[in-house]
């Protein structure tokens, strides 16, 4: 049979394709519906948080940080409860990472605060002596791209039914809603409201001035995102 195939490139190619495609079908498909259901208490990202997530991706923080806590005592001691599939339901893309040059950040919002992040992102080694993390000073001046974050929210709401403006069950039995503005200017306004809360805990005068003038530096969005990681 193999001799026969070797003289017939078309059938050869088909045979190869079937052999390799097979595994993917069996492995990936059955799992799909299962894994995409959110856990109780998992809410989609707000506009500002999503803009911050884009800053995280833009700087490939995921090249050095994981967001996946494995079920070992050493990891749960260090980072908190191990990860559950449904907690990632609104993560597009996932940001598990593959290398922990720095610590896991899956629940960093539980133990780090806005002012800590502000100091740390400005000068990591100044806060944690010996740190090899780069400083991210430019995020204090670059302006976050709220437009694109809003565009993404609309896209995922329409395409994947992400529950913006809908009640989301929380762990204590209550519900919460993540609002999605119905216009771009509305999105800017609500992002700015959120940004003000973050900036109130910051001390960098340029950042405070920018927010007061209606602009959102990347660092503010990034911190909002990190605060949301719980």
């Amino acid at each position: 049979m193999f001799h026969w195939l070797e003289k017939r490139p078309f059938f050869f190619a088909v045979a190869v394709f079937v052999t390799i495609a097979f595994a993917g079908l069996i492995e990936i498909l059955p799992n799909f519906a299962q894994a995409s259901r959110p856990t109780i208490g998992t809410a989609p990202y707000s506009t500002l948080e999503l803009a911050g997530r884009h800053v995280y991706i833009k700087n490939s923080c995921n090249a050095c940080h994981s967001q996946l806590i494995r079920p070992f005592k050493a990891e749960t001691d260090r980072y908190g409860h191990y990860s559950l599939s449904g907690e990632y339901a609104y993560d597009r893309p996932f940001l598990w990472g593959s290398k922990r040059t720095g610590p896991d950040l899956m629940r960093v919002g539980n133990y780090r605060t806005t002012d800590w992040h502000e100091n740390h992102m400005w000068d990591p080694a100044g806060v944690v002596p010996g740190s090899i993390m780069p400083a991210y000073k430019w995020t204090f001046t670059n302006i976050a791209d709220v437009d694109t974050a809003y565009a993404e929210q609309i896209t995922i709401k329409n395409a994947f039914n992400v529950p913006y403006n809908k009640p989301i069950p929380m762990k204590d039995g209550s519900t919460t809603t993540v609002a999605l503005a119905d216009s771009l200017s509305g999105a800017h306004a609500s992002a700015l409201e959120e940004a003000k809360v973050v900036a109130a805990d910051m001390k960098n005068q340029n950042v405070k001035d920018a927010v007061a003038n209606g602009q959102i530096p990347e660092i503010v969005a990034l911190i909002a995102y990190m605060n949301s990681l719980k």
């Binding site: 390799i20 492995e27 494995r70 070992f72 050493a74 780069p134």
Partner: protein
């Protein structure tokens, strides 16, 4: 049929040889910079505060991986295809104006794609998925480039004179199909600009999959990108170039059959080993683990087939630096295809995952196996393509030893770094508290990061020697085609 030997046309092969070397330098240079940044973080500012955004570790890291995978390695694959394809199918590109045109278009579009990738990654335009960082406009360009290559492959096969497809051709076909399938499915994404009625950045997109599903598809891709870029086509190369250079027939045809179909069947199942102890279902993790172990068989099958091809001719390893490169390449292939499955065992993975040991593993594969094999292929091609003898054998030998030392420093330091870090992360003191804060596990790595950076630097120096040797070959002593039956001619 005419009597004189076919005149093969290497125009496109030469173009891709050129891009192999240039992109190799880019990818490895960025890699060395990254390595030094981890040892000396001040280098994140190497071009000053003003450009810090573009020289920081995170921005450069995807540029390094993508330049090596899709720049250096893919160029090497294309260069060897446009050389090997004609020769084993016994047909010249010059016989078809159409294929010639497609080949050149393939090269130029590829180059445009590369330029777009470099610019976009430096600007931070990325999807964040490893080795699939490109946004949708570049994805579309990549698909077009790939289709052009496919046209070239099947076009050439269509007009072949040799009816049976040689082993290398199997592997090139598999590369084409495998990457096509993986790439398309992993990059399913929706451009947000169009989906939102024209808001935000036009190039931005959002993944069709979320969370755990996204991870599953990504590592099915990520693992198999390794298979179909770093393994399958490199095996294609060694099956052609080692027998040619040594003048020995492939040891066993049966073994090559077995290894080929074995590899095709098994490889795709092993992706789950990137997701052990994650939130993907347990049975997938177990499959990933088990199939990774099984994968040793077809991998070693090819490698042993190659080593045994040298049976009775081992003196060639001593006398020819070109054979040295290939033999060490297949040795490193055996080495990393044993190391990988070990890391896929769950208890080992619990320690190794997220550490530098994984980085070490990738590099003994890519530096030792992929890099050596591509350079050896280009060394073998150069005299035939340029019709000149290789400029310097002694330079080649020196390069070989410098790079070998570089690889050894690289993986040994990363082993120690990875295992040290893994052990420190999990250590508890007598009261059951974590023994080390995270930063302790970072500072302890400094010496290993330094050694690794030096190892990488040595490899890069060797690569410059390679580039220089090939460059000088273009103006070395002329030779006749009939001098070129087996071993490549080299000046002392």
């Amino acid at each position: 049929m005419e009597n004189r030997p076919l005149e093969y046309d290497y125009t496109v092969a030469k173009m891709f040889m050129f891009s192999t070397i240039i992109l190799g330098i880019v990818g490895m240079l960025v890699g060395v910079i990254l390595a030094f940044q981890l040892a000396f973080p001040g280098l994140n500012l190497m071009l000053g505060e003003g450009l810090a955004e573009y020289t920081a570790f995170g921005r450069l890291r995807p540029l390094h991986t993508d330049a090596v995978i899709f720049g250096f390695t893919l160029s090497g694959i294309f260069a060897t295809w446009y050389y090997v394809g004609q020769r084993v199918l016994k047909v010249s590109m010059a016989e078809s104006g159409f294929l010639m045109f497609i080949g050149k278009l393939h090269f130029w579009l590829y180059l445009v794609g590369v330029a777009a990738v470099v610019v976009s990654l430096l600007l931070g335009i990325t999807t964040s998925k490893e080795y699939a960082e490109f946004e949708w406009p570049i994805d579309i360009a990549i698909v077009i480039v790939w289709v052009l290559w496919g046209l070239g492959i099947f076009g050439l096969i269509g007009i072949r004179r040799e009816q049976s497809l040689y082993i290398s051709i199997w592997y090139y076909i598999a590369t084409f199909l495998g990457v096509a399938m993986l790439y398309v499915f992993n990059n399913m994404e929706i451009p947000t600009y169009f989906a939102s009625g024209g808001i935000g950045a036009w190039y931005h997109s959002v993944s069709m999959y979320s969370g755990t599903n996204d991870a599953l598809v990504q590592w099915w891709y990520g693992h198999n990108a390794v298979a179909f870029v770093f393994t399958v086509p490199i095996v294609a190369m060694i099956y052609y170039f080692l027998p040619k250079e040594s003048g020995q027939a492939v040891y066993s045809y049966k073994l090559s059959l077995l290894s080929f179909w074995g590899l095709m069947f098994v490889y795709l199942w092993a992706g789950g080993h990137h997701l052990l102890f994650s939130t993907v279902p347990d049975w997938l993790q177990t499959m990933g683990s088990v199939f990774s172990i099984v994968l040793i068989l077809p991998s070693w099958g090819s490698a042993i087939n190659m080593l045994l091809t040298m049976k009775g001719e081992w003196q060639q390893v001593a006398s020819s630096p070109l054979i040295k490169f290939m033999i060490l390449a297949s040795t490193f292939y055996m080495f990393s295809t044993l190391e990988g499955p070990i890391q896929a065992i769950k208890s080992v993975n619990a320690l190794a995952h997220f550490t530098d040991w994984i980085v070490g593993h990738v590099h003994d594969g890519v530096l030792g196996w992929v890099g050596f094999m591509i350079m050896a292929s280009l060394f073998h091609m150069a005299p035939r393509v340029f019709k000149r003898e290789i400029y310097s054998k002694s330079l080649m030998t020196t390069q070989f030893w410098i790079q070998t030392l570089g690889v050894v420093l690289y993986f040994t330091s990363m082993w120690i770094a990875g295992i040290t870090q893994g052990m420190m992360w999990r250590a508890h003191d007598e009261f059951g508290n974590l023994a080390y804060s995270f930063i302790d596990t970072v500072t302890v790595l400094h010496p290993y990061y330094t050694i690794r950076a030096v190892g990488g630097l040595l490899y890069l120096v060797g690569f410059f020697m390679f580039a220089y040797n090939i460059y000088k070959t273009m103006s070395a002593r002329r030779i006749e085609e009939n001098e070129l039956q087996t071993a490549s001619p080299m000046a002392a």
